[in-house]
């Protein structure tokens, strides 16, 4: 079996097991699995509008997934994408409201500031990982809570518009990320995400620094021995990952919501990490995984209305996928001889 095909088959088995177990869960709650899956499909792809809705859901998962991929490639685990998304979204909205610029330029500056915010948010965990080898999993997870609550605090106490929900004023139209079609909120964020996936893939394949990062991800000691400046690379890889996390927030803020509010985009950071895991850290594969999760989410919205099954069924299916994928990773790691080799590898 070829080396590229094997992981694809492994993931397909993981999804199959998850769906099979999901079917059992659906039967246990007394719904017909055929009806549930048919409704999911109808909700995700039943019409042009629904396909656009699916792609709308796919966009943040894809961009967050790419952020996770970048860190995975370097053997690092950025689980702080959620926090970077919130910080990026918030920063983009502040630029959108308070920094009047010509249309187009305004949007670009907003996107750029979102990326800087995401980068700034991961800078502390990245510094301590690079300098003192502090586990980035813990520090990035913790920074998620701080980001979500901090942006919430700013929104409520400093930038809340009078009346209404806890949300900021709307951004100026000059900062809007343009929509692709008139009938959907689907916007250029999707194109940015797709282009970024291709660019990141090419970067890792065809540049020497990309190669250094991949080598570092596969075998840290070997990379160090080969002359890769490990500390610097760790720091930069995490910063790049954080910037893309911030970008995801900027896209949601400028392309979809046009404002920041409490509960801005909860969970997309984690969905992205799962999509990247399912894709084995491959940016192109992440497109497919993100589309899969986007379709599940979009379909589940119709499921909630048209059947007696709860929207949460898909959360169960997602969780089952995580379980089977992690089981696979553990099995793969069993072959590693030393503790030092037992790390996240993609």
């Amino acid at each position: 079996m070829s080396e590229t095909l094997r992981p694809v088959i492994g993931q397909a088995i993981a999804i199959f097991i998850a769906l099979a177990l999901g079917t059992v869960v659906i039967m246990v709650v007394g719904e017909s699995p055929i009806l549930v899956f048919a409704t999911l499909l109808e909700g995700a792809f039943g019409s042009t509008e629904r396909i656009a809705g699916t792609l709308l859901q796919t966009t943040p998962i894809l961009v967050c997934g790419i952020a996770a991929c970048i860190s995975f490639r370097g053997g690092l685990f950025n689980i702080g994408v959620e926090g970077q998304l919130f910080m990026g979204g918030f920063a983009a909205v502040i630029v959108g409201i308070y920094l009047p610029l010509p249309a187009g330029l305004h949007m670009l500056v907003g996107i750029l500031v979102a990326m800087l915010a995401g980068m700034a948010w991961i800078a502390i965990p990245a510094f301590f990982r690079a300098r003192y080898n502090a586990n980035e999993v813990v520090s990035t997870i913790l920074s998620n809570y701080v980001a979500v609550l901090l942006t919430s605090y700013f929104t409520i106490f400093l930038f809340k518009r009078p009346g209404g929900w806890s949300e900021t004023a709307p951004i100026l139209p000059s900062a809007y990320l343009p929509e692709l079609f008139s009938f959907s909120r689907l916007n250029w964020g999707l194109i940015i995400g797709l282009a970024l996936a291709v660019a990141v893939q090419l970067y890792f394949r065809h540049t020497s620094r990309g190669y250094s990062v991949s080598i570092m991800g596969q075998n840290l000691k070997f990379a160090e021995y080969g002359g890769v400046d490990i500390k610097r690379h760790i720091f930069l890889v995490l910063l790049a990952s954080g910037a893309v996390g911030g970008l995801a927030g900027g896209i949601e803020a400028l392309g979809v919501h046009h404002r920041f509010m409490e509960g801005f985009a909860p969970g997309f950071g984690f969905d992205g990490v799962i999509a990247a895991l399912l894709a084995n850290g491959n940016p192109i594969g992440t497109i497919g995984a993100a589309l899969f999760f986007g379709a599940l989410r979009s379909g589940s919205l119709l499921l909630e209305v048209d059947t007696n099954a709860s929207r949460e069924i898909i959360t169960v299916i997602q969780a089952l996928i995580i379980l089977s994928v992690s089981a696979q990773i553990l099995m793969r790691r069993r072959g590693d001889s030393t503790a030092a080799e037992r790390r996240w590898k993609f």
């Binding site: 209404g164 929900w165 919501h257 989410r297 119709l302 909630e304 209305v305």
Partner: protein
């Protein structure tokens, strides 16, 4: 009878106080009139809301769609424009759009009576077990949003009307989902001499009620009967009868009085809001407090007292 009436309700709060009371009203309507009821849980992702409204309204399947939650306002307003024939009923206040039906609760009236009750009790001071100097009473709000401000407005004016010397100390938790924060704020309020604290904070408010038991002080519940959360420490509950509103709107529809866009008021007079003194503590409430509270309540109902903006 129009047994073919179908209603849906869309919200992220069916499991919480006010949401529970709406579900109770829907279920009662289902039993009494045989209407079909569909509950749609929105979850907490803003990205999903618009699609969910589209899914509900697309076939015109539901005669009435009840909507609860301020985070849905944006999506609701868009859906009301996109589906002009779909009647949406917003149960949390009144918005700008004239295409929507509003069930408007006079929470300020119920809170006025609550404020009067709390301040009169506090003014009794140490004559009542567990009360101190009675200079002020407390208020813990969830988020700082218009509907919660309405509660506070009524509470302050009621306190002032009943016992002008008693001040109101109000804080906002900034969240409806953090009981620990509610407890913490309440302990701080108790520390500053507010012996009775009124919670208008959903699950955060559970923490307020529990703090009253822990500190051996007093609290007041909201939306639904919360007397049992901390028996003997919850003095009263300000009921916001979502069940009555939902039921009576469905009843109008079923009996041919078609519900139309505009505002339907649920106030003290119609029983949409009311103050329930808890049975566990009612014996410690002096008769003169009871009579003064009921006098002020009547004055609000008659329009002798107007609660100002």
């Amino acid at each position: 009878m129009a047994a073919d009436v179908k209603v849906a309700a869309i919200s992220g709060y069916f499991a919480q106080g006010f949401g529970q009371s709406i579900v109770a009203g829907l279920n009662k309507a289902k039993d009494d009139f045989g209407v079909e009821v569909k509950l749609i849980d929105t979850g907490n992702r803003a990205l999903d809301y618009e699609e969910q409204f589209n899914n509900v309204a697309k076939d015109g399947e539901y005669d009435l769609v009840f909507v609860m939650g301020w985070e849905l306002v944006d999506a609701l307003t868009k859906a009301a424009e996109a589906y002009p024939d779909q009647r949406f009923i917003f149960i949390d206040g009144v918005l700008d759009s004239d295409k929507i039906v509003y069930a408007d609760f006079s929470e300020e009236e119920g809170s006025f009576v609550t404020g009067a009750f709390a301040s009169l009790m506090a003014a009794k001071g140490s004559a009542i077990d567990g009360l101190g100097d009675g200079k002020s009473i407390g208020f813990v709000g969830g988020r700082d949003i218009p509907v919660i401000r309405n509660f506070l407005r009524g509470y302050e004016q009621g306190a002032k009307a009943a016992a002008p010397d008693v001040a109101v100390d109000a804080v906002f938790a900034g969240t409806f989902d953090d009981p620990a924060k509610g407890s913490e704020l309440t302990m701080a309020l108790y520390g500053e001499g507010n012996d009775i604290v009124y919670n208008v904070a959903g699950p955060t408010g559970e923490g307020v009620l529990q703090a009253s038991a822990a500190a051996d002080k007093y609290s007041i519940g909201v939306d639904i009967d919360q007397c049992d959360v901390a028996p003997g420490h919850v003095m009263a509950s300000m009921l916001k009868r979502g069940d009555i509103a939902v039921y009576s709107l469905i009843k109008d529809e079923v009996e041919g009085r078609t519900v139309k866009p505009g505002t339907y008021s649920f106030d003290l007079k119609s029983g949409g809001v009311e103050l329930l003194m808890c049975p566990q503590t009612i014996d410690m409430v002096p008769e003169d407090v009871k009579s003064k509270v009921s006098e002020l309540r009547d004055a609000v109902i008659n329009g002798d007292i107007k609660i100002t903006e």
